[in-house]
Structure formats: structure tokens, C-alpha cells
Symmetry: C2
Subunit: 248 residues, 2 copies
DNA sequence: TCAAAAGTGTTCGATATACACCCATGC
DNA sequence: GCATGGGTGTATATCGAACACTTTTGA
């Protein structure tokens, strides 16, 4: 493709005033630590630092010949080493002001290239078992789980994206309840599941009713195994059986 | 902004292989003709033609300094003369192949400019009273309502977008039932509402149960007015009362 | 023996479903 | 008077919400 031609295209685009822009994906990755919902953030600096600031949502500009879903999968793979994490696109954020902060502009200059005057992003939700060992091969060497109540000020509109992701995760769980098992270890107790629901919906749930609800799910099967070394009656472990679930 | 600088930006973008692209919005506008759900399509040709083909979803590239929501509102305003139609973003379509068809490439060349080799679109749902007089000030002079069962082959991935919009409109009605009144005339009978539900969910609904359901909505108020000149018992008219609805 | 969490059933109200007949009107 | 669609009530099943006590275990 002739660059001179592209140059004309670009000038023409400016004349006509149509946007010609970069597009990124940003991922809100949820994890659950048995108490709070957490989100996986990265540090803006490429090299590890001791400073605990300047955190952002993991994301990337998308490549040529790359679909946005693929870009989100790539970001997650580079961040965690996991292929095919659960993924849900939830909104395109395209306010002309979202990348206008001076600090953000500086960072874009350094990180990508000068003069990105506008950046549109497509936001994704993802779910991850928080105790899973992550293999980070992304350019951001530091990543950290933070409870949603303790999130810092983040660049661009990342705080807004997280806020919307919270109502989105509820919609997701309502329309497809089994996604919650992606946030739990493969062996779990019913009270872990309940606490997860409580964290997602931010309200107390009745213990007995919840047991009934789980008992009505044939794909949640009891194991012959109980908690060890707990200073109270040991809870039984359960697992999610995908085979039974897929048979409906 | 110096164009030479932008030129460098562009070349650099190619080198790095990040996408630098145009972004569009496309709107799936639903209407209801008392029998079927319809969608408002435009003809690709800017001038009116007698040929009934080459229809597409109304849409537009977005401008600099324009948010995608604003672009969708603009498209709808130019198409209908109505400001602030109900609007719901539902997905970003970004497959690298979506604009690769030769005919679509030719059209982009002519319509916008040569060499748009990729185009990302953000899809919106909208609702419109089908008998409303539309004031079309867009560049597409022909627009037409077509029942969803009779849609032609459309350019790009517009058939796919429509397909997804059908499950999206159900989600919308479930999460916010009063949006259906945007598809009905301001005076309507209960059986009109029922037929609309039947069209959206594509299944028969029990008449008596449906009357009960409507009767449970205090914001649907009966008028002292009935159908005229119908060869059967005249049905009572109702209206949607926004004031009562807003008071909950 | 105490503290801490696990586990377990019943009742009630709200909501969704199923189902059949008479009414009003124009022709 | 007949064809057409309008309008109405009751019974049953399902689902979610409320609610308190006993059990197990480690310290």
C-alpha cells in the first residue's frame, strides 16, 4: 500500500472531519478472594517499580487484521498465560474527552507514539480464579489484584469503565448463572459461593434459601471431602460438573 | 496540527501494526405495524431510485470530537427528524473481514474515500412509532420500513447485526418493559400491545393473562374512547402515562 | 465448655400458567 | 344471524422470602 496514497487519505479525512483513530480494548478482570471482588490492574510503567501508583486496566491498541474479541483475548493471554478466558464485551467508550488529560497524553506519547489525540476503547469483562498462578508475558511486568473498594484514581476513564462493569457482571450472572464458577476454586464450599453472590450483589443472602438454590443445580456435585483444620464444623466441598451442565 | 507530523504518525502506526481506522455507527431502528417487527433501511444510492435493492442499515462514520452515542443520535435525527430517540448501544463489530467484500470496498471508495481497508462499527438499537411522519434530511433520500422476515441481503455484516439486534431487543424489553410503548401509537388497544410482544418474542401469549399483566401497570391508563367502525366489539384505547411511571 | 461456622424445613405471598365463555359490532 | 375479535375469573404450580435451632470442630 502506497504511503503517499495513505497520506492523501489522511488529509482528506481531516478535511471531511471524519475521525481516523486508534482503537483499543480494555479488560476488567474480576477475581474473588473469599471476601471481596477484586480487579486485576497493571502498572503503567513497563519496568517493575516499588511505587504503588499509576495503575490502569490491562489493555492494548488493536492490531491490523485483529478483531476486538481477539485483541481482548490476546491482552488476557499476555497478562495471565491463560488462553480462552471467559470474556464479555460490554461497551464502547468513545468520549472525545476520555484521553484529553495531559498526563494521559504524555503517557500515550511515550507508550505508543506522539499525537494520538483521540482513542476509542472497547471494554470487556473477564473472570479469573484469583489463586491461579499467572504467567505474565506482557510488557507490564507488575500486575496486582485490588479489591474494588480500594481502587486508586486511574488514567483515562478507567474508573468509569470499572463502575459500569459492576452492573454488567450482575447482568452476566443473571443471564448465565454458571459463570460464577469461573471465580471459584475447582473445589469450593457452598458458603464460598454464597459470599461470592453477596460480593457481586452487595447484599446479604439467606443461608438456608441459598442451600436450597444450590441443591437445585444438578451440576453442582458434592465431593466426599471436607475442610481440614478449621475451628468449627467442617464444610463439605463441591465441584462444578461441566459435563452434567452441558447435558442441561 | 501539522499534516507532516500526522504523516509520520501514520507511517509509524503501520510499522507498529496498530490499527488506525475509521469508526462508524449503525442503527437498527425497529417499528411495529400491528403485525410484524419492521426495520428502517436506507438505499445505498444517495439519489432516489426505483430499484428496490442495495438496502443497508442507516449509519455514518463518526466525526472528530463526536462520541459514538452522539453519532448515533445524529444519524437518527438526519433520518427521521426526531431528536433524542430511544437508543441502546449493543455491540462493536470489528471483524477484519467485515468490509472486505469487493462491492462494499467500491461503495466505500465512492461514498467516503478510497482505501478504507478496514471499518469498525458500533451498533445501536432504536425504537420508533412506525406511523410517525419522518423528515429525512440525510444524504440517503430513500428510506423504507421492511418486516424482519423480508430483509434482503445487505452489505457488510448488516444481516448479522440485525440478527443480534433481535435478541438484544428482548433483553431491552425485559430489563425496561416500558420501552415497548415507544413502538406503539400514543393511543393503543391492549391487543396491539399483546401482538407487539408476540412479534418480539415470536410466540403466542395468553389473552386473559396479558390483560391482567397490563392491568397491573398503573401507568397504562384507560381512555374513554373506543375503536370506531370495526366489525366487531370495539376495543378500548389506553395510553402510557409517563408522569405516573416516573413516580414509580 | 466455648466460640464459630455448617447445615437443615416449613410457611407465606407473589407471580406465571392454563383454560372457556359471553359480548358488541358491522355486514 | 353470523363472523370477528373484545373482554373477563378461577384454580394450580412455581419461585423467592422469611425465619431458629442443632451439629461439628478446634482451641
Amino acid at each position: 500500500m502506497c504511503t503517499q496514497y495513505l497520506f492523501c487519505v489522511l488529509v482528506d479525512a481531516m478535511k471531511r472531519n471524519y475521525i481516523h483513530t486508534f482503537v483499543s480494548v480494555d479488560c476488567v478482570v474480576f477475581g474473588f478472594d473469599n471476601e471481596n471482588l477484586n480487579i486485576l490492574l497493571v502498572k503503567r510503567e513497563k519496568e517493575p517499580t516499588t511505587e504503588f501508583k499509576n495503575m490502569k486496566l490491562p489493555g492494548s491498541l488493536i492490531y491490523n487484521d485483529e478483531d476486538v474479541d481477539d485483541a481482548a483475548n490476546r491482552v488476557l493471554y499476555e497478562l495471565t498465560g491463560i488462553r480462552r478466558m471467559s470474556l464479555r464485551q460490554f461497551r464502547c467508550f468513545a468520549s472525545p474527552d476520555r484521553a484529553r488529560n495531559v498526563e494521559d497524553q504524555k503517557w500515550l506519547d511515550k507508550e505508543y507514539q506522539p499525537n494520538i489525540n483521540r482513542l476509542i476503547t472497547v471494554a470487556y469483562l473477564s473472570l479469573c480464579k484469583i489463586d491461579r498462578k499467572l504467567v505474565n508475558i506482557s510488557k507490564y511486568k507488575d500486575s496486582v489484584w485490588l479489591p474494588i473498594s480500594e481502587l486508586p484514581q486511574m488514567p483515562f476513564d478507567h474508573n468509569l469503565i470499572v463502575e459500569e462493569s459492576l452492573s454488567e457482571i450482575r447482568k452476566w450472572v443473571e443471564s448465565e448463572p454458571v459463570v460464577i464458577f469461573e471465580l471459584l476454586p475447582s473445589k469450593f464450599t457452598i458458603s464460598q459461593v454464597r459470599k461470592l453472590y453477596e460480593a457481586i450483589y452487595n447484599k446479604k443472602i439467606d443461608v438456608r434459601n441459598f442451600h436450597k438454590k444450590i441443591a437445585a443445580m444438578p451440576y453442582v456435585v458434592a465431593l466426599n471431602e471436607k475442610q481440614q483444620n478449621v475451628s468449627h464444623r467442617a464444610a463439605r466441598y463441591y465441584k462444578f460438573d461441566k459435563t452434567i451442565y452441558n447435558k442441561r
